[in-house]
């Protein structure tokens, strides 16, 4: 049974998401984008904070609406014993339980992985915690920038000679969520082969370390601690961001002398081939500051988009750094589903960020946006759990559904 036949590679997979804020709901969204039925467990007394950010109307909360594409919402009051009993019944009819509550929070509700396994032996429990679910530092909590700092990302992002200030403060939750979603799918494979469920215990901090893994690995080999180096790339030169007209910046990466000569020619750099400072990759790396200053002097007066097009036509990879205005003005993203329209549970049409992939044939339909609180109570309690009218009414009256 499913609420709606949407197709997609994970059609028939049901995910019970006891998940809040960003990393957990993002993992759930990726699974929904692949066709899974995601049921979000909510309660008026313990809302996903995203329903509260940016306003007072929980059905028009910008963050929440930006994220919960194709999620179903069921109200379960986890503070009531009857609510917990219902949640257990939901676990019994789910393939995956996704949880990013604080470490130990589900255990306190009597819903440890062992307890879930007793309810459904082949359940897949995906736990998303900052530092994993146990161990000496497993009690610690934090936000995305904390993951980035602890996981080794922040120390490797910065302008040369300045304090490394890391990626933008928003970076990190979604990377952790994506790693969790991938682990969940691997667990589905294992269950398909063997019939066995398992716990997927994700450390958001380690997911971040996965973005700097080659640097960590290289440190083990060479003993030289990696440091932040701006936009330097040892194998490409020039390589970096260069100023363009109206405070713009263009990314340019040259692979080899031929591309370098094309770049120099397109910019009208005087006799580039004859300047011994810049003739070879080695000399360009050695004289990097002089090279970057020279190029910046020339790019500064030019229009970034136009220059990027001209350089690409000459075989040099170049793109302007896109602002939020640039991103939302890009026709390609609207035409290929990177941005798409959905209809929210509240009835409004809303553009949202879509998936990074298109799948053919049988990609998952993505038409519904975020649900209203409890929009799918009826489906979950009456159809999935099979409660009759009276039982359902009694749960509402007792506050178990609230």
């Amino acid at each position: 049974m499913s609420y709606r036949q949407r197709g997609g590679p994970l059609a028939g997979v049901r995910v019970l998401a006891v998940a809040k804020v960003w990393a957990g709901p993002y993992a759930a969204k990726l699974l929904a984008q692949l066709g899974a039925e995601v049921i979000k467990v909510e309660s008026a007394s313990a809302l996903d904070e995203m329903r509260a950010y940016g306003g007072v109307d929980i059905e028009h909360a910008p963050y929440f609406l930006s994220q919960n594409t194709e999620a179903l919402s069921v109200r379960v009051n986890l503070k009531s014993a009857e609510g917990i009993a219902q949640l257990k019944k939901m676990i019994a009819v789910s393939d995956i339980v996704l949880d990013n509550l604080r470490p130990g929070a589900l255990d306190k509700l009597g819903l440890s992985y062992e307890a879930m396994k007793a309810i459904r032996p082949d359940i897949i429990h995906v736990s998303i915690k900052m530092y994993g679910s146990d161990g000496p530092l497993g009690y610690q909590t934090g936000y995305a920038p904390s993951f980035a700092a602890i996981g080794g990302l922040t120390s490797l992002v910065g302008h040369e000679g300045k304090v490394p200030r890391g990626m933008n403060i928003r970076y990190g939750d979604t990377t952790a969520g994506a790693a969790a979603a991938f682990g969940a799918i691997a667990a589905l494979h294992h269950r398909e082969r063997t019939g066995e469920g398992q716990q997927v215990d994700l450390s958001a901090v380690e997911a971040i370390s996965g973005l700097v893994g080659d640097s960590l690995f290289a440190f083990g080999l060479t003993g030289e601690p990696p440091v932040h180096r701006g936009n330097t790339h040892d194998e490409l030169s020039p390589h970096g961001f260069f100023p363009t007209r109206n405070n713009g910046w263009i990314s340019i990466a040259c692979d080899g002398d031929e591309e370098w000569r094309a770049l120099a020619d397109e910019l009208g750099l005087a006799e580039p081939a004859d300047d011994p400072r810049f003739t070879t990759h080695e000399s360009r790396c050695l004289n990097r500051s002089a090279l970057e200053a020279e190029l910046g002097r020339l790019t500064k007066a030019l229009d970034g988009s136009d220059l990027a097009r001209r350089l690409r036509a000459r075989g040099v990879a170049a793109w302007p750094a896109a602002s939020s205005l640039d991103l939302m003005s890009e026709d390609l993203f609207w035409s290929n589903g990177t941005f798409r329209m959905v209809i929210n549970g509240n009835g409004d049409a809303r553009p949202v960020v879509g998936s990074s992939w298109r799948i053919e044939p049988d990609g998952a339909e993505l038409e519904r946006g975020a649900p209203t609180l409890g929009e799918h109570d009826e489906y979950v309690y009456r159809e999935l759990l099979g409660l009759d009218e009276d039982e359902y009414a009694a749960l509402k009256a007792s506050g178990a559904i609230s």
């Binding site: 059609a11 992002v157 691997a186 973005l211 040892d234 991103l327 990177t338 990074s356």
Partner: protein
């Protein structure tokens, strides 16, 4: 037995994004056969090189097999066709022109191998204009918006930043590619049918910003050319402490109280309304906080102050470097690093009770597995 054992994947990828996708699937026991062109994968050139081996290739290609195949030659393409005939999936990261030239265009492959899951990674997806099909990670970070907004509170005079190291967008793309491929392989188990996955590297970058950019798309937040459009506006930042750096982020009055407590409730902190983070978080107040917080945090030792902060639920975190992570007790507890062939490999972020990730073999030499793969 691992989650993907019994599944065979052909990898014709020659960039880090495709190789990373292959590695993530090989982590779970899929047989990943890497086809290298004569001369070896271009990623073998990325340093540092130790004993003649490039570290990036060594890291991204564990658990894989290698066969060198000249795809420009008729015989090489015939061999690839034989391999695809018995494979479950193909991972590639070349441009559509290259694929067409070698008979690897999606329509062609789905017709010849209807059971095959074909994942194609390109900078902007298959339907992008011709000049959009070749981009380096820095271009992907630029086109996807994160570079423009990094770091937070960017100074307009400083260039945007592409992220950590040389390949960060590649790891993100590889993760989404592996995820979509694994999902499609699950469907293949159930239906016996293949699919084509058209993965856009720039769309991965955009997806990672969903709630930030989504509000802009919907008009809740104004689109703009500001470098600070993704910022949060709070006091969050990196601060120097006595023996390194820490990152502080604070959003609630409870966290503010916790911080005041560990600072010993200094007089200056009483100038701030208790709920300033929620309701009175002006740029002036943020600046004033930072100015007065800096001398105090500069006198604190990183590990002590961050543990004290955790006890008060204040998200003050150590800014770790590589040596910190190797020594980190939690990483040790979870076995994040795995030793193989005398080297220390960072592994997966997901510990799994039944089908854990396991590194069984180091990255292959070019053509190391010819005899086994092509008997």
């Amino acid at each position: 037995m691992s989650a993907l054992s019994g599944i065979t994947i052909i990898e014709t990828a020659e960039r880090v994004c495709g190789e990373w996708a292959g590695r993530l699937l090989a982590d779970f026991g899929a047989e990943v056969i890497k086809l290298e062109q004569p001369g070896g994968s271009p990623t073998r050139r990325y340093g540092p090189h130790v004993d003649g081996k490039g570290a990036v290739f060594a890291y991204c290609n564990t658990n894989k097999k290698s066969v060198v195949v000249d795809l420009e030659a008729e015989s090489g393409r015939a061999m690839l066709a034989r391999l695809l005939g018995r494979a479950d999936a193909l991972i590639d990261d070349h441009d559509p022109q290259w694929c067409k030239h070698l008979g690897l265009a999606p329509a062609n492959l789905s017709e010849r191998f209807p059971r095959l899951v074909h994942c194609q990674i390109t900078p902007f997806g298959q339907h992008a204009p011709e000049d959009h099909h070749r981009a380096w990670p820095i271009n992907v970070a630029a086109a996807g918006g994160w570079a423009w907004h990094t770091p937070s509170e960017s100074d307009p005079a400083d260039p945007p930043l592409m992220g950590a190291g040389r390949f960060m967008p590649d790891y993100e793309s590889g993760l989404d590619a592996a995820m979509a491929t694994a999902a499609s392989l699950l469907r293949q188990r159930r239906t016996g049918e293949g699919q084509f996955i058209d993965l856009s590297e720039v769309a991965v970058q955009i997806s990672r910003a969903d709630v930030v950019l989504g509000r802009v798309l919907a008009g809740d937040d104004e689109p703009s050319r500001s470098r600070r459009r993704y910022d949060m506006g709070g006091p969050g930042d990196v601060f120097a402490c006595a023996d390194g750096f820490v990152h502080l982020v604070m959003m609630t009055s409870a966290q503010w109280q916790g911080l005041k407590d560990i600072m010993g409730n200094p007089a200056w902190a009483e100038q701030f309304p208790q709920d300033w983070l929620e309701f009175h978080c002006t740029p002036e107040r943020v600046a004033s906080f930072r100015q007065q917080f800096r001398p105090w945090i500069a006198s604190q030792r990183r590990d002590d102050v961050t543990v004290a902060a955790q006890a008060k639920c204040v998200p003050l975190a150590p800014v770790n470097a590589a040596p910190d992570l190797i020594a980190n007790e939690q990483y040790r507890h979870r076995g994040h690093f795995q030793s193989l062939g005398g080297a220390n490999y960072p592994t997966a972020a997901y510990r799994m009770t039944a089908s854990p990730v396991r590194l069984a073999s180091t990255a292959p030499a070019p053509d190391a597995d010819r005899d086994e793969v092509l008997p």
